[in-house]
């Protein structure tokens, strides 16, 4: 792989900001535009950019597919687990009010946060996995 210094340097500078922006979108989701899905995509874009510039192998080193698969599963579990938690606390499935019986607004807040976190995790790892799956194929003929 030819090394293009400018790209590598720029990527190195941009990476933290991309990931940070991803986190911002993630946690700002319940106040403004944003949320787990968008955040996950932005996060994944950061990793994909890294893979494009530094090569697939380095990217796989920082985010091994096995870990990504587990994170994906975990993300879904967090989402559904929140729902189960609300049920265990006496509400209906995904009834966030039940999370904080004294202050339903807070309950909503926490619930959304947890769910969006799960979504973000699943989407980020899912997107990266899809990229890896395609990029990792050998060329046919």
């Amino acid at each position: 792989m030819t090394t293009v210094t400018i790209l590598r340097v720029v990527t190195k500078i941009l990476m933290p900001y991309i990931l940070l922006f991803g986190l911002y979108v993630q946690f700002h989701g319940d106040f403004g535009p944003g949320g787990g899905f968008q955040a996950g995509v932005i996060f994944a874009a950061g990793i994909i950019l890294y893979a494009l510039v530094y090569g697939l192998n380095s990217a796989i080193r920082i985010a091994p597919p096995v870990v990504l698969e587990s994170l994906f599963a975990l993300g879904v579990l967090i989402f559904a687990g929140t729902g189960v938690a609300t049920m265990l606390m006496g509400g209906h499935f995904l009834d966030y009010n039940a999370l904080s019986p004294h202050d339903p607004i807070h309950g909503q807040h926490w619930g959304l946060m947890a769910v969006e976190f799960g979504v973000g995790m699943a989407v980020a790892s899912g997107m990266t996995l899809i990229y890896f799956a395609f990029a990792g194929r050998e060329r046919v003929r």
């Binding site: 587990s70 993300g75 209906h92 499935f93 009010n97």
Partner: protein
């Protein structure tokens, strides 16, 4: 207990990612089996409660019905849930041995995950009372079934899955358009609420267009002739366990959704009196039955033959709907169930044959009645059910269908239904003759009976077709209650 409706969906949904986390094939399978057998138990409890106390409603997130997403269980969908989950569980119990030959071990946990997701999607479509939810769950089940089909050993599984993906997505998008137009007209997504509000806008053209988009989309998903083109390849080349599962459940759930839309959302009056739906469905169903059965007769690949037979059987279900009477709907609903059992069992038996022979071609099946007597006996019982011979479940479906036709004085339809079952006789007999009255080929003389772990689930499913051919109060009885409630005659 109160959470049962949502648990039914959440349990397999959460089990799916857990399977990815566990990874180890044996553990995954054990875990999935425990989870999946809990589903029919829950569904049975639901059905029992619905029959005793009437419709159950569950508000997701605690948001009450017209605003939030509602899971709504009545006799009809509790019944569908029960048989879909039971067959899902039965086929998964059969799967470990079957996929060992057909799917590389590194993919087993992904197979189980997709399987659980597919089941979740199918049950979700059935249980939800929210239109948009139907679409979401439809896509969950479709996407996982594309993945499942593509796992087939033959490379044609890939093109089959792709073809299904294109047509399935077009169908799903049609449904999405229909739902969007309905939402535009009524401002609600809740089925019960929409049924109320649609009464004010019956004549509006948007509603008609929405109805058209929905029915075409669903017809694609349930493989109603002539929109069945994806089905034969998909069934023929998917792994045996996948074929058994999809054939037993997927199209039935789409038929259920059609029933739900036509009768619960749009109402009989609109669909049949205003639109004349029966004038479209009846000929389509009949032509479908005849064309598909005839094509089935000429198939060499027996899985493909059974696939065409499935297209024909969907015709019977739609025929029952087109009568719009209690007996007609009972026939449809009970045939959904009976056909799920028969086709599931037949494809499971095909899986046993593929397990030993590595092929499902008619030529290779010579003399198999002697080398694999139990498998073939089960196959024959399932086949007799397709013809509609008494004592098998298929007879009960035919009985109600004929009765529905006769009570509306549709002699020709009744006669055609009866004649069509003779076409089934031809394609079943063709296999029987080869299997029992021809000598095995040189290389296949040593073939032995399939292992018990395959035979027992197959036997249970086929045995159930015999049981429900005699004891019909649990099948036709429930179907009748469901049919009456769909037509608004009770509760």
């Amino acid at each position: 207990m109160e959470h049962l409706p949502v648990l039914l969906i959440v349990v397999p949904l959460m089990a799916a990612p857990l399977c990815v986390l566990i990874r180890q094939p044996t553990l995954v399978m054990g875990f999935a089996l425990v989870v999946i057998w809990s589903c029919p138990l829950m569904a049975a409890t639901l059905l029992q409660r619905v029959l005793a106390d009437g419709t159950i409603s569950y508000a997701i997130g605690g948001w009450p019905a017209p605003y939030g997403i509602e899971y709504r269980v009545d006799a009809l969908n509790a019944f569908v849930l029960l048989f879909v989950s039971s067959l899902g569980a039965a086929v998964l119990s059969y799967a470990p041995r079957s996929i060992a030959r057909e799917i590389p071990q590194s993919k087993h946990h992904l197979f189980v995950t997709s399987y659980l997701l597919c089941l979740t999607g199918l049950m979700g479509m059935t249980i939800t009372g929210d239109l948009f939810n139907v679409f979401v769950f439809l896509e969950i089940s479709s996407l996982s079934s594309y993945a499942l089909i593509s796992l087939g050993r033959h490379r044609r599984a890939l093109t089959a899955a792709f073809q299904y993906l294109i047509l399935g997505t077009v169908g799903a998008t049609f449904i999405l358009i229909g739902i969007g137009l309905l939402y535009q007209m009524t401002g609600t997504l809740n089925m019960a609420d929409m049924a109320e509000r649609l009464r004010d806008v019956t004549g509006v053209r948007t509603v008609l267009v929405a109805f058209a988009f929905l029915s075409v989309g669903l017809a694609l998903k349930m493989a109603l002739f002539p929109l069945h083109l994806w089905l034969p390849d998909a069934y023929a080349f998917a792994p045996s366990a996948v074929t058994a599962f999809i054939a037993a459940t997927s199209t039935k759930v789409s038929v259920y959704v059609l029933l739900r839309f036509v009768f619960s959302v749009f109402g009989v009056g609109f669909a049949f009196d205003t639109l004349g739906l029966d004038r479209i469905l009846l000929p389509l169903a009949l032509v479908g039955i005849f064309v598909a059965s005839t094509v089935a007769i000429f198939q060499q690949n027996i899985k493909r033959m059974l696939a065409y037979s499935s297209v024909a059987q969907v015709g019977y279900m739609v025929l029952g709907i087109s009568f719009a009477s209690v007996n007609g709907l009972t026939a449809s609903i009970v045939h959904m169930f009976n056909h799920a059992l028969m086709k599931g069992g037949l494809f499971m038996a095909m899986g046993c044959i593929a397990f030993r022979l590595g092929s499902v071609d008619l030529d290779r099946m010579r003399g198999i009645g002697r080398t694999m007597p139990v498998t073939m006996a089960l196959w024959v019982v399932g086949g007799l059910g397709l013809i509609g011979i008494p004592v098998t479940a298929g007879f009960i479906s035919k009985w109600y269908l004929i009765m529905a036709a006769l009570e509306q004085d549709r002699w020709v339809v009744a006669a055609l239904v009866l004649v069509s079952s003779l076409l089934a006789l031809v394609y079943i007999l063709r296999v029987v003759e080869v299997a029992y009255f021809q000598e095995p080929a040189e290389g296949d003389a040593h073939v032995t009976e399939a292992p018990m772990s395959l035979l027992v689930p197959t036997g249970l499913v086929i045995g159930a077709t015999l049981f429900f051919g005699l004891q019909t109060s649990w099948s036709a009885g429930v179907a009748r209650v469901a049919a009456e409630s769909l037509l608004g005659l009770s509760r």
